[in-house]
Symmetry: C2
DNA sequence: CACAACTGAGTTGCACACAACTAAATCGAC
DNA sequence: GTCGATTTAGTTGTGTGCAACTCAGTTGTG
């Protein structure tokens, strides 16, 4: 392959991933509009519905987001009345995010989201599970590479 | 599948895509730091290196980005001395983006990027091409679904 | 020609994402 | 017990991404 071909391939790959990510975001935006949630806010709510109350730190680990992203996001969820933030008594540094009644109730209305997303992808269950596995492997490899780059850069 | 299982699957899928996209972004950020480019700026430069000067409108079509994103981005590239913006004489509404000498020269230094990205993914050429095809199909389906949603919402 | 509809860029406002930083609380070595 | 290192949130600044808007220029219709 020539250098030019490599650049073209890179354009295709990085563009297609970028585009797929934004297309997903766009579909979620449309579907989540009724719930008054953004895509990242929905991710936070999914974790809370699944795992119950969590400190911001744990939320960040689950979602791989840092406090710079999570702090204002959780504040907006609090402003919408979906969660409550409470400083832990044991460790005053830690802030635990609780679902409010309204936040817990929103789960019922969110139940239709996955099916609508699934049908939007045009994929069947097997393909979705397969895609999930591929993306997980890819992310693991990329994280390892980023780690290696960071070490190399010093 | 129960409702709870659907929600869990949705969390897994939307999270894994989100995470993969950010992991890619992160690796590109590290590799592009030397070139002084962000990931979207690199996408713009790739298109310009490949296709030559283009009006902002065409750039937007190629990258599926609107003027709200492109205008400030191109201005930053201009500030970095990589491109020049010139209003078309034929159609005063149109602004054509030209590579400067410096911008054209940057291509030489960008030639190593694709190989570094490829090795970061841990995928071979066949898998990358396959991934590209899958993502294209997925994006097409998602775009069609978004279109349908938008029509339904009226 | 006149004027309404459209088009291409650009601006504004909002919500991530992330780097770099601060501040407060906790932990650990001594 | 004290003081420095670490940990947890939060803040600030930059750069997207997108909706909604403005503005200037162009086009189509009568």
């Amino acid at each position: 392959m020539t250098d030019t071909e490599w650049l073209r391939l890179d354009r295709q790959i990085c563009f297609s991933l970028h585009a797929a990510s934004r297309a997903f975001n766009s579909v979620y935006r449309l579907i989540l509009k009724d719930l008054g949630l953004t895509y990242p806010q929905y991710l936070v709510m999914l974790v809370l519905w699944e795992q119950g109350d969590l400190p911001v730190k744990k939320l960040g680990e689950r979602l791989r987001l840092d406090s710079g992203t999570l702090s204002p996001l959780v504040k907006r969820l609090e402003g919408a009345g979906l969660v409550r933030r409470e400083r832990s008594a044991q460790d005053e540094r830690s802030v635990r995010v609780h679902l409010t009644e309204e936040g817990a109730a929103l789960r019922e209305r969110a139940l239709e989201v996955p099916r609508r997303i699934m049908s939007s992808t045009g994929l069947d269950l097997t393909e979705v599970v397969d895609l999930h596995a591929r993306l997980e492997r890819l992310t693991t490899a990329l994280d390892a590479a980023a780690e290696a780059e960071a070490r190399a850069a010093g």
